[in-house]
């Protein structure tokens, strides 16, 4: 696999950075070379934030910022009003959005013609299962389905492992996240 770059758009507190790290972790466990990094600015709850991934079969040498990602993941559609979420996206790029709307509507809103748009209501999934609006982990499931970058089962194992490490006394949090990822994987649409 040639080098592929992903940009995550979220608001402070929605877990864009965590999602990028979880994705990177899972990719390493399936034998890939990766980078996962947030853009550190004056971040605070609710402010627009960015996180990034590089993934490749070969060692990744560059350490510059990512300006032309092939995939963009949007955790919050209200960002689309103030941030150019498709900036630098190539003609064959992919956009994945957490929204109640369908792909056609999003495509129109973003004025995209050639790029592929995937949608999933990750917030609803999170609220149903985790009782909180944390769209980041379900979006991981949707990303794997849309991009086919990783083996889904291997990714689930990796995320489970990482969450168990992070929440050693909260099996409910671990199980809930896994359930949410699986559901988003099933529900994501073009």
């Amino acid at each position: 696999m040639a080098l592929l770059e992903i940009r995550w758009h979220g608001r402070g507190g929605q877990g864009a950075k965590t999602a990028a790290l979880l994705f990177g972790d899972a990719a390493v466990e399936t034998g890939k070379y990766i980078q996962a990094f947030p853009e550190y600015g004056p971040e605070r709850m609710g402010a627009p934030v960015f996180a990034f991934n590089r993934i490749s079969d070969e060692p990744i040498l560059q350490h510059c910022g990512i300006k032309t990602p092939q995939i963009v993941v949007v955790l919050d559609t209200t960002l689309m009003e103030t941030v150019d979420v498709t900036e630098g996206l190539p003609k064959d790029g992919v956009v994945l959005v957490n929204t109640q709307k369908n792909a056609g509507e999003i495509k129109q809103e973003l004025k995209l013609t050639t790029q592929k748009v995937y949608v999933v209501d990750a917030s609803k999934i999170s609220k149903d299962i985790l009782k909180r609006d944390l769209p980041n982990t379900p979006m991981l499931g949707a990303l794997i389905k849309a991009s086919k970058l990783l083996d889904f089962k291997a990714m689930l194992e990796s995320v489970k492992h990482r969450l168990e490490h992070k929440f050693p006394n909260r099996p409910d949090v671990v199980d809930g996240n896994i359930k949410a990822i699986k559901r988003a994987y099933e529900e994501v649409g073009e």
């Binding site: 972790d25 990719a27 390493v28 947030p38 560059q62 510059c64």
Partner: protein
């Protein structure tokens, strides 16, 4: 074991495996995690370390000096203002020949206040008598942390291993860890010629040393610095033979027939390698030299790497504020003075306060260097690259 780790996590893992006798530290952005993760290893019983959470960096490094003089294997971690606050004690540590190792994250010095990457912090401590190794990525930071403990103890000199703030410290990458039990085996026990705690053979440390002997003692410290490169090279080779990852004091990339060359330090080395790849595909004879070991300066290895070059661009992520350009530029310029065919040099000060440097920008620098090669002259020796108003 292959894992995904940030630079800070990788350095903390290395510290866990090294299992130092004493760590005295005060956390500071962006090196906080190194101390935080290590304190968790202490809490969880993963290490036997005496952990001293000090009230400032000055106190932390002072505690390190005492512990190291007593014979302990000692480490700490800091960045930027933290290293600046340690400054007074850095010279004392080097003069007392205590082999402390600092896992450092390169962050710009105030003011203006900023938490992002440049090399102004460690370069301001350049003349303190500490070894300095600048790493390109999380893997190298991990490997070098282990290597530097061995080098420092053999040379009886303290050392700093550093990563670029956020770019490496907070960037997650694929990292291959050595088995836990292999690290203590590689390092062995610290060998002591004397110890403050050996009451049967008392020694004096840190005594007043005036006109009669100060100079001789200082000269012996300089002598130690003169002899440390072979130790670094030996430890790098031992590490490579044992764990499969080889490093050199000067990291050369596509240098065999390179006519136009960039010299850089830290994570930019990796970005520049991609620029070299792209230009090589177009048939351009370009190369990259990364100054990995910076103190002592590996003069012979650097000369060997660059003397065939026609034009060299030297990228400094700090300025000396002396009107003479960056630190690396001045070092390279100095060692080339006695060579028969001095290449043309241009200094690019870039990336201060964490400003990004892209592959395309580095390609543009190579293009500019080709123009210098063609014209045979350098119009402006020192430029500030990627800054408004230039």
């Amino acid at each position: 074991m292959i894992v995904a780790r940030t630079g800070n996590e990788a350095m903390a893992e290395a510290m866990r495996q090294i299992n130092p006798d004493v760590v005295a530290a005060y956390p500071i952005t962006p090196a906080t995690e190194v101390v935080q993760l290590f304190s968790k290893f202490v809490h969880d019983g993963d290490v036997d370390t005496e952990f001293v959470p000090a009230e400032s960096e000055h106190s932390a490094i002072s505690a390190c000096v005492g512990a190291s003089a007593a014979g302990a294997r000692v480490m700490t971690s800091t960045a930027s203002q933290g290293l600046a606050l340690m400054h007074e004690i850095l010279f004392i540590a080097a003069g007392l020949r205590v082999p402390i190792v600092i896992c450092l994250v390169n962050r710009s010095l105030s003011s203006p206040i900023n938490i992002h990457c440049d090399h102004s912090d460690t370069l301001a401590s350049r003349d303190s008598g500490w070894l300095q190794i600048y790493t390109e990525n999380a893997q190298e930071a991990y490997d070098t942390t282990i290597q530097l403990v061995k080098v420092a103890e053999q040379a009886l000199l303290p050392g700093i291993v550093s990563t670029d703030a956020f770019i490496i410290s907070h960037g997650m990458e694929r990292v291959e860890l050595v088995d836990d039990n292999e690290v203590p085996k590689f390092l062995g026990e610290r060998k002591l010629n004397y110890s403050l705690l050996d009451v049967d053979n008392p020694v004096t440390l840190g005594a007043l040393d005036l006109q009669d002997f100060f100079f001789e003692h200082k000269r012996s410290e300089i002598d130690a610095m003169d002899h440390v490169l072979p130790i670094i090279e030996r430890v790098q080779k031992e590490y490579g033979d044992k764990f499969g990852r080889y490093y050199s004091t000067v990291d050369e990339y596509k240098m065999d027939d390179a006519e136009v060359v960039i010299i850089a330090m830290g994570s930019t080395g990796g970005t520049a390698k991609v620029a070299v790849e792209r230009l090589r595909e177009k048939g351009k004879k370009v190369g990259l030299v990364r100054a990995r070991v910076y103190r002592p300066f590996p003069k012979d290895a650097m000369l060997k790497a660059v003397t065939k070059a026609k034009v060299i661009g030297i990228m400094d992520r700090a300025d000396t504020l002396s009107t003479l350009g960056g630190h690396l530029y001045n070092d390279v310029r100095s060692i080339l003075y006695d060579t028969a065919t001095r290449p043309l040099l241009k200094n690019y000060i870039y990336g201060l306060g964490g400003r990004d440097i892209s592959i395309e920008e580095i390609e543009a620098i190579y293009d500019e260097l080709f123009n210098i090669k063609k014209s045979g002259k350098v119009d402006k020796n020192i430029v500030y690259y990627g800054v408004r108003g230039e």
